[in-house]
Symmetry: C2
Subunit: 336 residues, 2 copies
């Protein structure tokens, strides 16, 4: 059996599914349940990470300070993780997280833009923090490019590096290739974070472990936007059956998931049509509300909009492209 | 691209999730949507198949006659499928189905008990019907045993043969081995029917196609009991991306799934704790209501009951074992 470390972003990535409205009792209750199950790292925060609470992406119900102190207090064995997107958060937020006792600090960047993480990773290295770096929308770069970027961030100070399948686009063979390339290029643990748009989150995570990933992410009931993340309480026993040790206790894990279903979410994630289409198109599913609104207004099919955004290689943050694409499809329809 | 034929049991296996209560408007509406999408075979019936409507497993809202005539009328291009478990249904039910214009008739048997299908498959061969045979709870037999049983049913008259992962226990490598063994032993199309207890239904189905399966089952939104079946509208585009042709039109398929979510089910299937446990234990998830009821009464953990039923190799139909197991666990607990 080889060991895999599980990282649980239920209280961070799951926030996207409830517009960042998790309250203190929910944060505390889930953190306690995850701790009791022996989950190694429990991540908490606004869905977009430290400092991101805002009118633009949604105000969180609870401040960063209160989220961090609540979860810190609830964890007796598990380490506490936080996430930050440079630009949304700043060095001040990192300082605050360290002061709150964050053990694992993850910096997320678009897969080809790792230089944006250089300063923060350098700062965290100086501070002696356990800094990770994750390359987002990783289907948009080749295995070779990802390996190069991974080597760069290790140079900047990352103690673990990996990829997020932000659009839920990968099939297992895609993951095998990319994780294999990264694992061959760095000597730190490699991370894989899946999404379930094509029903492959668990299979992709197992493929990642087999290709050399040492850290896998999963959320209770897959809690997350759209089709959701890798379902943690399915992933863990499947990993164990596949020859990987997680150190997590099954019944405790199932109990934590039941708490999450009851107290954190209105309902578990469903893989609906637009989740499938955004996964196939390779477009960040966070575009969905705006794609739906603009498509409805113009009378075009939102599925066509997603496929066209995919052809144009839209990346997270380029929501302005949605308006262009809808306008063009609408004109094309009027002429036809 | 090699071709795979999709068989859609939404209106039969999905019935388990709604205690066989689908009404005429739902049956007609979904059949029309599936037909419009170009789904080759649309299966209909009580969840347990022809003739099974009863107090014991639940009375269907609509009679077999009305189900078959409704769907027959709604299908213009798709073929109509029916399912029968020997014992629940009889030759009379098969005659009735043929008279109603059923194109594909599937006989289901426990994976080691194919002799039970001999008479019905012989009857269907005489009648010139397209008869399939599926081996249920197929994780309980070795690849070699399954291949032997498959060869037997082809001798009895089956024009296609395959396996159901009735407990949702398989991982992709298990499917590869079993489908490969069967495909090597028979010269008719091989069927795979998945369940999603371990989040692997889509990955398992792709593995089946790669190992030589020519017929794959999937249900809209995975509609089915517990964790549900393979999600059809995810499976089809993933198959296409993996090099298999289905002939199904994507947007029509997504529309059919949205109709199903809206009109057929209270909510799409969720992979809850007992679905995961029954999948791991290799126990038919249909045991769940009785396991829950007996466990609650005796104050034992239903998860322990499932794992113990798995150790005893309980097969579908042996619900009486539940009472024994609960009594023993309860006594053990009292002594401890």
């Amino acid at each position: 059996m080889s060991a895999v470390e599980i990282h649980d972003p239920t209280l961070r990535d799951g926030q996207h599914a409830v517009r960042h409205q998790l309250g203190v009792a929910a944060l505390r209750g889930y953190a306690e349940a995850a701790d009791a199950a022996g989950i190694p790292v429990v991540e908490v925060g606004h869905g977009n990470g430290l400092g991101a609470s805002s009118l633009q992406v949604g105000r969180a119900a609870v401040s960063d300070d209160l989220m961090l102190s609540t979860v810190r207090e609830a964890l007796r064995h598990s380490r506490m993780g936080v996430f930050m997107l440079p630009g949304w958060g700043t060095s001040d937020d990192l300082r605050k997280a360290i002061a709150h006792g964050a053990d694992v600090i993850r910096i997320g960047v678009h897969c080809t833009e790792t230089s944006l993480a250089e300063r923060h990773l350098g700062f965290l290295r100086e501070a002696g923090a356990d800094a990770h770096c994750v390359l987002m929308m990783s289907h948009m770069a080749s295995p070779h490019e990802l390996a190069e970027q991974a080597a760069l961030v290790v140079g900047y100070g990352a103690r673990a590096v990996g990829i997020m399948d932000s659009a839920g686009h990968f099939l297992p063979e895609d993951v095998t290739e990319r994780i294999g390339a990264i694992a061959g290029a760095v000597d730190v643990p490699v991370i894989f974070h899946g999404h379930n748009n094509l029903g492959m989150a668990v299979a992709n995570s197992v493929a990642a472990a087999r290709a050399g990933a040492g850290i896998l992410d999963g959320c209770a009931r897959g809690f997350g936007a759209g089709a959701g993340n890798t379902q943690l309480e399915v992933l863990v026993p499947v990993l164990e059956r596949s020859g990987f040790e997680t150190g997590i206790e099954l019944y405790g894990l199932l109990d934590a998931a039941e708490f999450a279903e009851r107290e954190l979410m209105p309902a578990p994630p469903v893989t609906g049509s637009l989740s499938i289409v955004s996964g196939l198109a390779g477009v960040f599913s966070g575009f969905k509300p705006q794609v739906l609104a603009e498509s409805r207004r113009a009378g075009v099919d939102p599925r066509d909009v997603f496929f066209e955004l995919g052809r144009r290689q839209a990346i997270a943050g380029q929501e302005d492209l949605i308006v262009d694409v809808v306008a063009e499809l609408s004109t094309a329809k009027a002429i036809a």
